[in-house]
C-alpha cells in the first residue's frame, strides 16, 4: 500500500521521498436506508467501502469516478464532516480524532475544503470580507488582523478587495463566488485543500480562470491538493497522481501520465475512452460501456465492475480483486484479476 520512492520516478510523480501527508487506511462508510412501517434500516448504501491511499506533501491527488462512486463521501470523511464507520486517517503522522492523535478542530485548521455549489457554501447574509475573516476570528485571530488578512486574500484570488469586500454573495458571479470560497478556505493558512468538484459548476471560460488561480495559489502557499472531479480532462490537467473510484472502491491509482497513457483497469479504460474526442472527424463510434453504474445499495459481488466488464470471467463475480502493483512500477496499482498473477482469470499473467 505504500507509495515508496522508486529509483526511476518520472517528473510528474509525487516528490520523491516526500512526507506522506495524508495516510488513509481502510476507510469505510455505509449509509443506512430506512423503510417499512417501523422505519427500520432495511439496507445500506455502501458509499465508501474500505479504501486506502496516501497523499504526499505538495502533490495534487485527483479523484475521478462517476456519480455514486463515493468520491464526495471520501472528501467529507477526510474533513470529518461525517464520521467513518471504520478506518483511520493520519494527518502528518497523527491519527485524526484519536485521543493521542490530532483533534478534529486542529486538523480543520490545516485542511480546508471548497465545495461545488459556490452559492450555498457561502453565508448569504454576510459580506464576503466577513465570510473570509470568520474562520480566523473563530480560531483566535484579532478582528482587525483577520479583516486585513481577508482583504489580502481577496486580492490574491483576483478580486479587487476595495470593490468586492462589502458585497454579498448574490451580488457576485459564479466565478467570483468560487474565488471567495477559495479565499475563505485559505484564510486559516491550511496546508491541504480538498476541492470537491470546485470548478464543475463554472462556465468553461471561467473554469479556466479558476484553474489557473488554483495552480498559482498552490505554488505560492505551498499547498497540497485533493482534487475531486468527474471531468477527466480537468483532473489530467491539475493532478500529479490519479485515483479512480467505482462503487465505493479504488480500482486504480497511479501517476497521472501512467493512468492516462497506460490505463490497466477495464473501467479506467472505458472511462477515458468515453471522453468526447474534440475532433468531429474522429468521433466515437461505439460506446465503451453499456448501461449505467449499478446501485451502490446492493453492489455486485466480487469485482463490482464485473456486470459491465467485457472481460468478466467466473472468478470476477466470486472473488474481490485486491489493489496491488504489477510489473516493476510500485506506484501504479490496480484492482483487477487480469493483472494479478494466479488469480484464476484466463487472461491473468502466470505466477512469477
Amino acid at each position: 500500500m505504500t507509495d515508496g520512492p522508486t529509483p526511476d520516478a518520472v517528473a510528474t510523480a509525487a516528490p520523491q521521498g516526500a512526507e506522506r501527508f495524508l495516510e488513509v487506511r481502510g476507510l469505510k462508510k455505509y449509509f443506512p436506508v430506512k423503510g417499512g412501517v417501523l422505519n427500520r434500516t432495511i439496507a445500506h448504501v455502501q458509499a465508501v467501502d474500505d479504501i486506502s491511499f496516501d497523499v504526499a506533501k505538495g502533490e495534487t491527488l485527483g479523484i475521478v469516478g462517476e456519480s455514486g462512486c463515493g468520491k464526495s463521501t471520501t472528501a467529507r470523511l477526510l474533513m470529518r464532516l461525517i464520521e467513518p464507520d471504520s478506518g483511520t486517517v493520519h494527518f502528518d503522522g497523527r491519527v485524526i480524532g484519536a485521543s493521542n492523535g490530532i483533534p478534529v478542530r486542529e486538523m480543520r485548521r490545516q485542511m480546508q475544503m471548497v465545495f461545488q455549489d459556490s452559492y450555498s457554501s457561502l453565508n448569504a447574509r454576510l459580506p464576503v470580507e466577513a465570510t473570509v475573516a470568520f474562520g480566523p476570528i473563530v480560531h483566535g485571530v484579532s478582528r482587525p488582523e483577520a479583516r486585513e488578512r481577508a482583504r489580502r486574500l481577496l486580492y490574491d484570488v483576483g478580486l479587487d478587495a476595495s470593490r468586492f469586500m462589502k458585497r454579498y454573495p448574490h451580488e457576485l458571479s459564479g466565478g467570483q463566488r468560487q474565488r471567495v470560497n477559495v479565499a475563505r478556505a485559505l484564510a486559516l493558512q491550511p496546508r491541504v485543500l480538498i476541492l470537491d468538484e470546485a470548478v464543475s459548476a463554472l462556465d468553461k471560460s471561467v473554469e479556466a480562470q479558476v484553474l489557473n488561480l488554483l495552480l498559482d495559489l498552490k505554488k505560492e502557499y505551498d499547498l497540497t491538493y485533493v482534487f475531486i472531479s468527474h471531468d477527466l480532462n480537468v483532473v489530467q490537467y491539475v493532478s500529479d497522481r490519479v485515483l479512480v473510484m467505482y462503487l465505493g472502491q479504488v480500482v486504480e491509482i497511479g501517476p497521472v501520465d501512467e493512468i492516462y497513457a497506460n490505463p490497466r483497469h477495464p473501467y479506467t479504460r472505458a472511462l477515458l475512452s468515453s471522453r468526447p474526442s474534440m475532433d468531429p472527424e474522429r468521433r466515437i463510434t461505439e460506446p465503451p460501456l453499456s448501461g449505467d453504474p449499478p446501485n451502490p445499495i446492493n453492489p455486485p459481488s466480487g469485482c463490482r465492475f464485473h456486470t459491465r466488464c467485457a472481460f468478466a470471467n467466473e472468478v470476477c463475480a466470486r472473488v474481490t480483486p485486491v489493489l496491488s502493483t504489477f510489473g516493476d512500477d510500485a506506484r501504479h496499482e490496480v484492482a483487477c484479476h487480469m493483472m494479478s498473477p494466479g488469480s484464476g482469470h484466463p487472461d491473468a499473467p502466470a505466477r512469477a
Binding site: 462517476e66 489557473n212 489530467q236 472505458a270 474526442s277 474534440m278 468531429p280 463510434t285
Partner: protein
C-alpha cells in the same frame, strides 16, 4: 389528424425544416427587463444537427423554448418569426399548439426526472401521448411504446415500461424521455443539454443513440460543452449575450474559429496534453443583459477590441460560403 406511418415531411418552402428570423426575447418584470435573445437568425435542414453552443445566460435555452412556445406568455415578450414546417409558431393559435407539439416538433430536457410525470409509469406516459395525437387504440399505442423502448435500446423493455421514473437510472430515464419525444415521429427534435446531467460513460451512449435516431430528423442540440457538440453536431452556432456570433460547419468552427469569443472558448476548454501549460482564458465574465447591448457584447472581454467595436453591433460577415461571424475583424469572402 391521420396517423402518419413515417416521419412527417416538413418544409418551409425552400427545403428547410426550421427557419428563425430576427428572434428576440425579453423578460419584463416590474423591476427590470432582461434582454435574453437579441436578433437570432438560423435555419435547419432535414437530417441536420445544429449545435447551439453557449455559456450560461447566453440565451441558448430561451431560444430553444421560444421555438416551441414554452416561455411564460405573461413575462416573455417574443418577436420575430419562427417557421417550423409551414407553421408560424409565434402566431399559431393556442389551440393548434398542442397538435404541433409532439407531432411536428418535440423537445427533450436536461433533467428527465422533472420532465417526466412522477405519478404515472413511463409506458403509460408514452402510450397516452400516442393516443392523444394519433387517436389509435390503447393496445396499438402500447405496442408502439414497446417498439420505441426497443428503438432507444432499453434493456428488458417490457418490464421497464411498467416502471415509474424514480425507479429508473439516470441513463434509462433519459432514454425514456427520448422515446416519449419520438413517440409521434416529429420532424424536428429540440434537445436542451440532454446529456449534461449524465455520467461520462452514459453520456456517450446517449449521444450515439441520438446520432443514430437523428438520421431522419432535424435536431437542434443546445449545449455548453464543445466536446459534446463536436460529437453530435453537423453545424455549430456559437451564442453570446443573446446573439449568434459565429456559425459554420462543426469541423471548420472547431479547427479554425473566426470570432475571438469562439477562439477563447476553445483555448480555455481543458483537454488532454495541456499539462504544464497555462490555460488561455477569456478575461472577465459574461455581460449583464439588463441593458440591450448596442455594441459588440464581447468587446469588454475581447483582446482585439477596436474603437468601432464599441460603437455599433457588428454586422454578420460572410467569411466563406457556409461561415458567418459577427466581428469587424473578420474578412468577408
Amino acid at each position: 389528424m391521420e396517423a402518419a406511418e413515417s416521419t412527417q415531411t416538413l418544409a418551409t418552402g425552400d427545403g428547410d425544416l426550421v427557419r428563425v428570423s430576427d428572434l428576440r426575447v425579453r423578460f419584463v418584470t416590474k423591476e427590470t427587463t432582461v434582454y435574453a435573445v437579441n436578433g437570432v437568425d438560423f435555419s435547419l435542414a432535414p437530417g441536420e444537427v445544429l449545435g447551439i453552443l453557449g455559456e450560461s445566460g447566453s440565451g441558448k435555452t430561451v431560444t430553444l423554448r421560444a421555438l416551441i412556445r414554452l416561455l411564460p406568455e405573461d413575462r416573455a415578450q417574443v418577436s420575430g418569426r419562427v417557421l417550423v414546417g409551414d407553421n408560424d409558431m409565434l402566431r399559431l393559435p393556442k389551440g393548434d399548439l398542442q397538435s404541433v407539439r409532439g407531432r411536428t416538433i418535440a423537445m427533450i430536457f436536461q433533467e428527465p426526472m422533472t420532465a417526466l410525470d412522477p405519478v404515472y409509469t413511463v409506458g403509460y406516459q408514452i402510450a397516452e401521448t400516442i393516443v392523444r395525437h394519433e387517436s389509435c387504440s390503447w393496445r396499438e399505442a402500447e405496442a408502439r411504446a414497446l417498439d420505441l423502448f426497443e428503438q432507444v435500446q432499453v434493456p428488458s423493455p417490457k418490464q421497464r415500461l411498467k416502471s415509474y421514473p424514480h425507479e429508473l437510472s439516470g441513463g434509462l430515464r433519459q432514454r425514456a424521455m427520448i422515446a416519449l419525444a419520438l413517440s409521434c415521429r416529429p420532424g424536428v427534435l429540440l434537445a436542451d443539454e440532454p446529456t449534461t446531467a449524465l455520467d461520462a460513460t452514459v453520456q456517450i451512449q446517449i449521444l450515439l443513440l441520438l446520432r443514430e435516431l437523428q438520421k431522419e430528423m432535424g435536431v437542434i442540440f443546445v449545449t455548453h460543452d464543445m466536446g459534446v457538440a463536436g460529437e453530435i453536431a453537423d453545424r455549430l452556432a456559437i451564442m453570446y449575450a443573446g446573439r449568434l456570433v459565429e456559425t459554420g460547419p462543426v469541423t471548420q468552427v472547431m479547427r479554425e474559429p473566426l470570432h475571438p469569443y469562439t477562439k477563447g472558448l476553445l483555448s480555455s476548454t481543458v483537454h488532454g496534453s495541456m499539462r504544464g501549460q497555462r490555460l488561455q482564458t477569456i478575461e472577465g465574465s459574461p455581460p449583464n443583459l439588463e441593458e440591450l447591448p448596442d455594441a459588440c457584447s464581447f468587446a469588454p472581454r475581447c483582446p482585439h477590441v477596436r474603437e468601432a467595436c464599441r460603437e455599433a453591433v457588428p454586422e454578420p460577415v460572410q467569411a466563406a460560403p457556409e461561415r458567418m461571424a459577427r466581428c469587424i475583424l473578420v474578412n468577408p469572402a
